[in-house]
């Protein structure tokens, strides 16, 4: 039996299709020309794929993967999008799929591409959900991020900071009506306020930026913490995962392999650089270069990741 499953998977992979995705349908909103497609990657879980680019006027910071989950009674949005414009379009998309109330909007961590769409959902009066550390992080960085985004997108499109009211300290559940979502607030990993979502019904993991595929990871928390968190996520009984950036859906835990390899290379080579007495600037020039051709936007983020890793590891 196992053999049969393997063969069919392989056949699908060879055909260039992901095993976990249902057919896609295109969404176009008339007053907003930006077009994208969403996939139902598992029953009731719809995903929009972000572009592998930086925030710009022609993408309205729609660079992250977004998902919503439809239960019997209500909808949970697991990522609101990267700007007010992105969030409004995302809300239109959700409305084109279901009229059920949008009860929860989860802000998965502090970064702007997963944050500034939140205000678009205010007409739905949802409960905004985030890590217990998120309000503090927003108080500290939120306005700064908003100013920067306004400089790129303009005031009308950027959006404002929305602070979550339902805070997750360890774990928590959301009930969408016969559909339970498990939320976990993680210790410092990709950032210091990462929340992941696990859908019990379809065994789908939505780790947001705890999982990068294809687009180079950004380390803004703890390298060793991220590796620990990834190991814990890999042990979950999930069949598929929706990365924060990359394809809409990957098999789980196989889909963690690239990220894990990158983080381990970063860990090992930074440790070596520290042991050899290299300074931080020299380490940036030499660590992790074998990963360069394996990720989009490598040169934009990798040096900073090395800096962050170096500071963490030099005291070991």
């Amino acid at each position: 039996m196992a053999g049969g499953l393997l063969i069919s998977r392989r056949a699908l992979l060879l055909a260039g299709a992901s095993v976990c995705c249902f057919p896609r349908h295109d969404v176009r909103s008339q007053d907003r020309p930006f077009t994208y497609s969403i996939n139902e990657v598992a029953p009731g879980i719809h995903v929009r794929e972000g572009v592998d680019a930086e925030a710009a006027t022609d993408n309205s910071n729609a660079i992250a993967n977004l998902a919503f989950i439809v239960g019997r009674d209500a909808v949970a949005v697991t990522d609101p999008g990267g700007s007010l414009a992105d969030g409004r379009r995302w809300r239109d998309t959700i409305r084109s799929v279901t009229r059920l109330p949008i009860r929860y909007v989860i802000i998965p961590h502090i970064h702007p591409d997963h944050l500034f769409g939140a205000a678009a959902f205010e007409p739905d009066k949802p409960v905004y959900v985030g890590h217990a550390r998120l309000p503090g992080a927003l108080a500290q960085r939120g306005e700064y991020y908003r100013e920067r985004l306004e400089q790129v997108l303009g005031k009308e499109s950027a959006g404002r900071v929305v602070t979550p009211s339902l805070l997750v300290e360890n774990t928590s559940t959301l009930d969408l009506g016969s559909r339970i979502l498990e939320l976990t607030a993680h210790p410092e990993a990709h950032s210091d306020c990462d929340v992941s979502v696990f859908d019990r019904q379809t065994h789908t993991l939505l780790p947001s930026d705890l999982l990068f595929v294809r687009r180079v990871p950004s380390l803004d928390g703890s390298l060793s913490g991220w590796l620990k968190t990834l190991a814990a996520l890999k042990s979950l009984p999930a069949q598929r995962a929706v990365p924060g950036h990359g394809p809409q859906c990957v098999d789980w835990p196989a889909g963690a392999a690239d990220l894990e390899r990158y983080l381990e290379v970063l860990l090992n080579e930074t440790r070596q650089a520290v042991a050899q007495g290299l300074d931080i600037s020299a380490a940036v020039q030499s660590v992790g270069l074998s990963e360069r051709n394996r990720w989009a936007l490598f040169d934009d983020y990798h040096g900073r990741n090395v800096t962050k890793a170096f500071k963490e590891l030099e005291w070991e």
Partner: protein, 273 residues
């Protein structure tokens, strides 16, 4: 392109490499404002003393675009043969611009000194060398970085508080008696500057930072560093000194909570057993 980059990198931490794209649109006005800012600072720090162009005397090395604004490596290099008494590092647009003042002693090799600093916004940095006869020489560098002063310290600060005062010393070249040697001194200290917020309580963590670092070798001064809130957490200082065949390097650090941390290192280090 710059605009796109500026934003997403900004997204990474409040640390942020590249900021305000709009600033690039008015270079002349900005350049004038920066020059005025330095004129005011120079007068505040050095009064009416003449400050000369430092070409051939002092060089300032910093990344034009910092990868992490809370940790910007800055090197001050003394070139030429003028005997140098002290160095000043000024980060013009930081909340407390005079970031470091280094006074060398007889055991120093003053040719290269590296510090890690926080940068709050796009800024000029200035290094001023004071020679033994009291002349001042200036080097300047523009650094694109923003957000470093209020960057959240995260769990690293908890670790730093737990281990406060711990020190490590690494020799960066081959030890040879009588020959100048570079060494890296690491000091565990959160160096809270009063601008970091605790993300759970949302109170600002009160300032607590290192005021002075005195390094001596066999009882005689290598350097004395007066520092301020611009120095990164867990300070790392690379400096030069001239060791004898055998001796002790002593470090005494004093912080704003009136705590003193001291450590003594044998040079060369005793062989590991």
């Amino acid at each position: 392109m710059t605009t796109k980059h500026s934003f997403i990198l900004a997204a990474l931490g409040a640390l942020v490499s590249i900021a305000a794209a709009s600033r690039a649109e008015a270079p002349d006005a900005d350049a004038t404002a920066r020059a005025q800012r330095w004129a005011v600072l120079q007068e505040a720090i050095f009064g009416d003393r003449t400050v000369r162009d430092g070409a051939g005397v002092i060089e300032l090395d910093a990344p034009p675009r910092a990868l992490d604004a809370a940790l910007v490596p800055v090197s001050l290099r003394v070139v030429g043969n003028q005997p140098i008494k002290s160095l000043y590092l000024v980060i013009d647009n930081n909340p407390s611009p005079l970031s470091a003042r280094i006074t060398f002693g007889p055991k120093a090799d003053p040719r290269s000194m590296t510090l890690r600093v926080r940068v709050d916004e796009y800024t000029l940095m200035h290094a001023v060398a004071e020679t033994q006869d009291g002349s001042l020489y200036l080097a300047e560098k523009f650094v694109k970085a923003a957000g470093g002063c209020s960057a959240p310290a995260g769990s690293s600060s908890e670790q730093a508080l737990k281990e406060i005062g711990r020190m490590k010393l690494k020799l960066l070249g081959d030890f040879e008696a009588g020959k100048p040697l570079q060494a890296q001194l690491m000091i565990r200290h959160p160096n809270f500057n009063g601008m970091q917020m605790d993300q759970i309580t949302r109170y600002y963590t009160p300032a607590r930072f290192i005021k002075t670092t005195e390094v001596t070798y066999e009882g005689s001064r290598v350097f004395h560093l007066e520092s301020d809130i611009s120095i990164s957490s867990d300070p790392v200082i690379v400096f030069g000194f001239v060791p004898q065949a055998k001796g002790k390097l002593e470090v005494v650090v004093h912080d704003t909570d009136d705590r003193t941390f001291a450590h003594s290192f044998e040079i060369p280090p005793p062989p590991a057993t």
